[in-house]
């Protein structure tokens, strides 16, 4: 079938047929939204325009339900916080300066639903999409990460979803040559049927190379480059395909097209090198990645950001499928494509660079004077719109917000205090081994062994560390550290505090590695915004996060909202994943995780411990219990703690450190011992008079550090001066964790066996 056989619903035709029924509801538009489009255009939209508006006004692209809340991030960001920010919310990704003329850009994005439908491709294209966002800032991507959430480890569907998602993250990222340096693997029943695949990417650039989406300069050319455009990912829009137009439920092949996209990491790798060469040669005025909403998004956003109009000719777009309608070309989510604005005199040079990299590049239009986005197909005008109405002036909703008092009060009343606890030393000892093997605490090696953490040769710390540490400038040793975290059970118990605890943990993880926390990104995974109780969780989490950032002085530079994460009417646990990025002046001062120093180093616990078990891993794993209140969060303390850790690291005063979070001090000791390869003798009596509390409470603001014996006094004095509680609880050495008669001795071998067996036992060995 050739293009000319596809009937075109042109603007002229639309004017002539004002009453023609249009399937706007199937496209997800509400009656009033459709009415508004007709009002903007003064006529009915063409199929192509309808496709553009419907996808750009979708929750995913327009943030229509979250906008009113996200504004709060801007309102709470002070000028001082802004001082290091070169680009913030609204750009493809936030950019912060890290000194020496270097800047870094980073962002987390969700690809949850596609990864449930087709785990491998869904996860793979999730990584591909966030990497293009980073490229669109003019940066070289330098690392990726993958916060993941799944249903119960033993659930059947987890056996389908997890291996596919992990293989997809690895398959794409490894082939792209980006080290995977951070992430999470969390299991909870609420994610069964709705796994969370959040992908993180970090990029580095010289401050002067910052590029923003921008299409100004009448006569400048619009160049589409990268992969060809096909039918993948157009899902719903195919109700507009003419041959199925009459039967909304019809069943032609194309109608049944799944909205999955298939990734080609090889093409993206070449696209990265091609883009960087184009930037270096100064051939790019503006650039935009093609992600969700494909050309609809790229053309309308480029045009809106510019000072002129834009004309695009769809006949020039290289297609990989025959008979694509204008609506389909505009909505296609084919991967590995970018769109650039180039001055006429540079077009030849631009195309030459693309030829060198075997990258298809085509001039598809130009910037015009005037203020309209005009798109033609087969010689007819199929789109003629004010671009801002598509890209930025979509609907905005203030959805009802209501705390579910009954449910929330019951949750908070269900205190974990009454849960039966281990008491005798042998019971406590057994509990430590059981927790070490818990799905949420066991070794992640089954996952991380499938990810390349070495490529590019700049990875200083990755899997098993508290944060991923990557060298940015080899000549100075300047680098960045990044960590993502979220204990969604805390958020469920108290969304405001829970979000601050997620922020505090990621912030602490970065400082624990010896870096100074600088900026925040987030990926807000929630249920349906049409449910007032979900909107309450969302609003509370946003406020908690923003207020927390104000106290810590770390701005939210960007992020992503993912709504409608639910199975049936049951929403997932509210999961605002928080990513924190820090700078480290000299990566050789980065502190290794765990007991990495010499035998005889002093083991020091920073921060205080209280009987806090609400939302704890122990309550979840041992009793399947979720109730009470989350641990208290003290952000001023977190700030002092981070300053102490970063300063001590810079002076090389620490031989090792590890954040305490899920599983409490018990799990922290296990990970520190196994990670650093040294045992320790520890006296728990000073931590808390109740041994069980000392071991399993999840009080925030705690870090385990080791210091050389001769440096102990100086360090304790330093902690005292910083106002951070510090207690020597033991010393490293031997091949066992010796917790005294209160608990007994656990050999590193038996700990390792329990800790490492869980995931391989479920999914099979990664190697032979």
């Amino acid at each position: 079938m050739t293009q000319s056989q596809v009937p075109v619903d042109s603007v002229k035709h639309a004017e002539a047929t004002p009453e023609q029924p249009q399937p706007y509801r199937e496209l997800g538009l509400k009656d009033d939204e459709y009415a508004r489009i007709r009002e903007i255009l003064g006529r009915r939209p063409t199929d192509a325009e309808l496709a553009m508006y419907s996808v750009m006004w979708s929750e995913h692209c327009s943030y229509k339900s979250s906008k009113v809340h996200l504004r709060y991030f801007g309102e709470t960001t002070t000028d001082e916080m802004r001082s290091s920010m070169l680009a913030g919310i609204g750009e493809n990704a936030g950019v912060v300066s890290i000194g020496d003329g270097w800047a870094v850009t980073f962002k987390v994005e969700s690809h949850n639903h596609p990864s449930y439908v087709e785990p491998y491709q869904g996860a793979a294209t999730g990584v591909g999409g966030i990497v293009r966002d980073i490229m669109a800032m003019g940066a070289r991507p330098i690392a990726v990460g993958d916060p993941l959430r799944f249903g119960p480890l033993d659930a059947d569907d987890t056996g389908r979803v997890l291996p596919g998602i992990v293989a997809g993250v690895g398959g794409y990222g490894n082939c792209l040559g980006l080290p995977n340096v951070a992430g999470e693997v969390v299991f909870d029943p609420s994610y069964a049927g709705n796994p969370l695949v959040n992908a993180l990417c970090v990029g580095a650039l010289k401050t002067e190379d910052l590029h923003l989406a921008f299409a100004s300069g009448t006569g400048n050319k619009i160049i589409l480059f990268g992969a060809t455009t096909g039918l993948d990912g157009i899902g719903g829009v195919s109700v507009l395909a003419s041959e199925t137009f009459d039967s909304a439920t019809g069943g032609t092949g194309r109608k049944k097209l799944p909205s999955v996209q298939v990734g080609d990491p090889f093409t993206e790798k070449v696209l990265i090198e091609c883009c960087l060469e184009l930037f270096a040669a100064g051939l790019v005025v503006g650039i935009q990645d093609l992600g969700g909403a494909g050309l609809s998004c790229a053309t309308s956003e480029l045009a809106s950001a510019g000072d002129g109009g834009m004309h695009v000719d769809l006949d020039a777009v290289p297609l990989r499928a025959t008979g694509m309608t204008a609506a389909e070309i505009l909505s296609s989510e084919s991967q590995e494509r970018m769109c650039a604005v180039v001055t006429p005199e540079n077009v030849e040079a631009f195309l030459a660079v693309c030829r060198k990299w075997d990258t298809i590049a085509t001039v598809i239009g130009e910037v015009t004077d005037g203020d309209r986005l005009v798109i033609t197909s087969q010689g007819e005008t199929v789109v003629d719109v004010p671009p801002r109405t598509v890209a930025h002036e979509g609907p905005v909703y203030s959805r009802p917000v209501a705390r579910d008092d009954a449910k929330q009060d019951a949750l908070n009343a269900g205190s974990p205090e009454s849960l039966p606890r281990p008491e005798t030393p042998s019971e406590l000892r057994a509990e430590i081994l059981r927790m070490a093997a818990a799905p949420n605490l066991a070794s992640r090696s089954w996952v991380t062994d499938q990810y390349d953490r070495y490529v590019r040769g700049n990875t200083v710390a990755a899997h098993g560390a508290d944060s991923g540490v990557v060298q940015v400038d080899e000549s100075t040793g300047r680098g960045v550290a990044v960590a993502t975290d979220c204990n969604a059970r805390f958020v469920a118990l108290d969304p405001y505090t829970g979000a601050q605890l997620a922020l505090a943990e990621a912030y602490r993880n970065v400082a624990t590695s010896g870096a100074v926390p600088l900026a925040v990104t987030d990926c807000l995974n929630f249920g349906s915004p049409e449910d007032p109780h979900v909107m309450w969780q969302f609003q509370q989490a946003v406020r908690g996060l923003a207020d927390g950032c104000a106290v810590l002085g770390t701005p939210v530079t960007g992020g992503n909202v993912s709504f409608y994460n639910q199975t049936g009417t049951t929403a997932i646990l509210p999961t605002p994943v928080v990513g924190v990025l820090g700078v480290i002046d000299d990566v050789t001062t980065a502190v290794p995780a765990g007991f990495a120093g010499a035998d005889g180093d002093a083991v020091v616990l920073l921060g205080g411990t209280a009987a806090e078990f609400g939302g704890s891993e122990w309550a979840h794993e041992v009793h399947g219990h979720l109730g009470g209140h989350p641990p208290a969060v003290d952000l001023e303390h977190e700030r002092r703690l981070a300053q102490l850790l970063a300063a001590a690291a810079a002076d090389r005063a620490l031989t090792g450190s590890h954040d305490l979070s899920d599983g409490g001090l018990a799990q922290g000791l296990v990970e520190a011992a196994l990670g650093g390869g040294h045992g320790a003798r520890v006296d728990l009596s000073g931590v808390h008079d109740d041994t069980f509390t000392a071991l399993f409470a999840e009080s925030a603001g705690r870090v385990l550090v080791t210091v050389p014996a001769d440096g102990l006094d100086a360090f304790l004095a330093r902690a005292g001066a910083a106002g951070v509680p510090a207690l020597r609880i033991g010393e490293t050495g031997g091949d066992a964790l010796d917790l005294g008669e209160a608990v007994g001795v656990l050999s590193l071998d038996e700990l390792r066996t329990s800790w490492e067996a869980t995931l391989p036992a479920r999914f099979g060995a990664v190697s032979v």
């Binding site: 040559g177 090889f266 990299w357 390349d452 490529v455 200083v460 190697s767 032979v768």
Partner: protein
């Protein structure tokens, strides 16, 4: 004047920057070579680095082996030019028939990234003369198709002539035949291995600096 070591970049090559860095750390000059050129720029040795050239489509290394630059590498190897293939580079050298056998999917059927210990079995090659036979090197392995296979006759010949250069000390986690991690050609100037010595040239960004010896070995040779 210092030794000049070429590092080839194909579309999809990933570890070229790291290979060049390793060459510099060894005290040589790294010379970028482009897959589409027919010119080795008079280098004294060539590294075919790791990655996913052409996305590993068809077979790992199959399409890259046909690149113009490889015609020159094959000719150079025939004249005794030292050539080192790392990971995807090893696969490319096998596909180009500079080395016998082939590399197929890991027995575990997963991409595998892990630090492991190699035993140096042949310290006579152009790339291993700075080691002693029996040396043990801690080096990362990161590959999807790292299982070395060849017919029995070839394997016996490799073993008989001492052409197995590296073996996995604790057994090949990818199911590699006879735990073979790296081999050499009869002349000893062409070496291929699956693990990544270029990622073990500094304890800061790798598990050790044990891999540097490969890059200094070739130095010693061409300046000798």
């Amino acid at each position: 004047m210092s030794t000049r070591v070429g590092v080839i970049t194909f579309p999809g090559t990933l570890d070229d920057g790291d290979a060049a860095r390793a060459v510099r750390r060894a005290g040589a000059e790294a010379v970028p070579l482009w897959h589409g050129d027919h010119d080795l720029q008079g280098v004294d040795a060539v590294v075919v680095p790791g990655g996913f050239s052409y996305g590993d489509y068809l077979r790992a290394g199959a399409i890259a082996a046909l690149a113009p630059i490889m015609t020159e590498v094959v000719a150079g190897a025939g004249r005794g030019l030292p050539v080192l293939g790392i990971c995807n580079g090893f696969q490319i050298l096998c596909e180009a028939h500079l080395l016998p056998g082939a590399l197929v999917a890991n027995a575990g059927m997963h991409f595998l990234c892990r630090d492991l210990v190699l035993t140096v079995e042949n310290a006579q090659t152009a790339w291993t003369r700075d080691y002693a036979a029996g040396d043990q090197l801690l080096i990362p392995l990161k590959s999807q198709e790292g299982r070395y296979v060849a017919d029995a006759a070839t394997l016996d010949e490799l073993d008989g002539d001492g052409r197995v250069v590296f073996r996995y000390r604790d057994g090949g986690p990818n199911g590699s035949t006879r735990d073979i991690a790296g081999i050499t050609n009869a002349a000893g100037n062409v070496v291929g291995l699956m693990p990544h010595p270029e990622h073990a040239t500094s304890a800061l960004t790798g598990p050790s600096a044990d891999g540097l010896g490969l890059f200094t070995s070739v130095l010693a040779r061409v300046t000798a």
